[in-house]
Amino acid sequence: MRLEPIAAPSLARRILPPALAILGAFVVAAVLARLAGGAPFAVFSGIVTGAVGSKFAALETLNRATPLIFTGLAVAVAFRAKLWNIGAEAQLYAGALVTAVLGTGALPLPAPLLLPLICAVAMLAGAALLFGPAVLKTRLGVDEVVTTLLLNFIFLLFVSYLLEGPLKDPMGMGWPKSARLVPEARLPRIVEGLRLHWGFVLALIAAALVWVINARTTLGFEMRAVGANREAARFAGIPVTAVTLKTALLSGGLAGLAGFSEVSGLKGALTLDLSPGYGYSGIVVAMLALLHPLGVVAAALFVAAIFVGADAMSRAQGVPTYLADIMLAAALLFMVLAILLTKFRVVRD
């Protein structure tokens, strides 16, 4: 078989495969729920209700999408320049760490000063963590997939050390977690009483900014050129090394923001389980979005809705909640395939 690009896909072509992909994921969930004794048809409504059935559910979906937007952007920016950043998880924790250090009363500043400051330093921290692998890549040709991947383990152990040592909350009764953030260091909530916070808005702004950078600035042009053809970019006089390093800074910074947003907006303290793999999910989100910054927002919402919806459904059905992850994985795989089929047709030969 062979794939043949379709010059002008019809409307049906653009809508049908993604719709079938979502349906397919629902069917997978229903079948598995049935095998575990659930009622297959309630699965469908259960997922929708769980994801967007109430104001609470919808805001929870947005809430879970927030860190995914940041890490998705981080990955999209890096992958666009063919910098394979698999370390968004660690960079997220770097941002979170900074937030926990600066936000717990170390700086007696009012919120309008403190928040931007922490935000900036959190970005720097995330950036710094990717800068090392980027330098190793550009100077010594060390594969960044491996260095960033391994740094995830190393940095998490480092955070673990800090949380059991110097950063341990003295009021925390021994549990490894940082002290609580002072109110000035907290991102306010958007709706009182519900968890959604201004980190979400920040994520949307970040997506818009990345889009502008990509499309309108010389840096964006350079990052794309380096990613599309490093050799040609170098020949054309684009400073490939510098661009790679700048890309690393931007990417790491965005992942750092995810940590800032989670600690300052959501949790108010740093724990070792702050992120259930947001850094890795960011890769999924970015690729679903075809590395497009605005697509990242849509993809993050999609991923979050599927997870939150399926998680709630599995509880309602009394089947193991691992079903949520299964459905997410199925939706993801079906969806990337569907996106492909909107643009290509399969030809036999």
Partner: protein, 318 residues
């Protein structure tokens, strides 16, 4: 308001209570397994209707609490060590739901529907240490833990204190493997300790007793009873029994009397919340002097004459 409460109470007594567990790890994890087993037992007895969510990330914890509260569960059990603040906010929004949560913090009178508990089984750990001290020949004891959190640390310290009662010169090798579930790694760590002279291991994690069994040294169990699996290896175990804690909470909810309280006391030996497991195959192999000491200290503990110190700091090798 009074009549309303009364009506609720009448209904609650007539029905089975809907109980939900929310755990951040799978129910095989020792600590959680004790809660789970107790809840399953209550369910068997027809007292409660029980469901649970395991492996819930702390990030999702508040959402899951809400989902259960919204769908009619009246008692929610779990562990909020990593999500204290948010969990308390959710609890405040559902005053008619009772929350019984593993927590390092004290109950808050302002939050009447949230009670706390923890595995305060240092009493039993201490007693198991007494036996360990009597059974070790080299006086070199290995301890393999997952993470040095208070729930782990306090039991290790109590155990070490117990060992010192019968073997004052004992030394301890302490390691943390940085994971709750990596039995192969725990096993490797235990092997290393045996190589370094340990002839008795404190089995905080799965995998440790296996190494002990293979290498022919002894082990002391913790939280759960594994004597049946390692009959020649596990000398004694400090058991956590969650039943008293859960029963008290169920009764309180059914009586409409659930208030902010510290259920930690129900894990104490006095309350039957912990015990030394039966010695099983080691019956008769443990020096009588040690058993006498255990009996004496157990009596002292139960009478209140002796209190095992609670030390939550990270234990170090000596």
């Amino acid at each position: 308001a009074l009549t309303g409460l009364g009506a609720g109470r009448a209904r609650a007594e007539g029905e089975v209570l809907k109980v939900a567990g929310i755990y951040t790890v799978p129910v095989e994890q020792q600590w959680v397994s004790r809660i789970h087993v107790a809840a399953m037992a209550a369910k068997e007895r027809g007292e409660i209707d029980y469901t649970y969510s395991e492996n819930t990330a702390n990030t999702d914890y508040p959402r899951v609490m809400r989902e259960y509260a919204e769908s009619g569960y009246k008692l929610i059990v779990g562990e909020i060590f990593g999500a204290e603040q948010e969990a308390r906010e959710v609890a405040a929004e559902y005053p008619e739901v009772a929350f019984l949560m593993g927590s390092s913090f004290a109950p808050d009178a302002a939050l009447a529907n949230l009670s706390v508990f923890d595995n305060y089984i240092q009493d039993a750990s201490y007693l198991s240490g007494i036996i360990a001290g009597a059974m070790t020949k080299t006086g070199n004891i290995g301890m393999v833990g997952g993470f040095p959190i208070p729930e782990v640390n306090r039991l290790m310290h109590a155990f070490m204190a117990g060992v010192k009662e019968t073997r004052p010169d004992a030394t301890f090798q302490v390691s943390f493997i940085g994971s709750w579930f990596d039995p192969p790694k725990a096993k490797e760590t235990a092997y290393a300790m045996i190589e370094a002279g340990a002839d008795l291991l404190y089995a905080e994690r799965f995998g440790v007793s296996d190494a002990a069994k293979e290498k022919g040294v002894l082990a002391i169990g913790n939280v759960i009873d594994t004597q049946a699996d390692y009959p020649e290896t596990v000398v004694a175990s400090a058991l956590w029994n969650f039943q008293p804690t859960l029963d008290a909470a169920i009764a309180a909810v059914k009586a409409g009397a659930f208030t902010a309280a510290d259920y930690g006391q129900y894990s104490f030996m006095k309350a039957g919340g912990c015990a030394l497991a039966p010695h099983g195959t080691f019956e008769g192999k443990i020096p009588q002097a040690a058993l006498d000491k255990v009996a004496a200290q157990e009596a002292a503990i139960k009478s209140g004459a002796f209190t095992v110190a609670i030390d939550d700091s990270e234990p170090k090798s000596s």
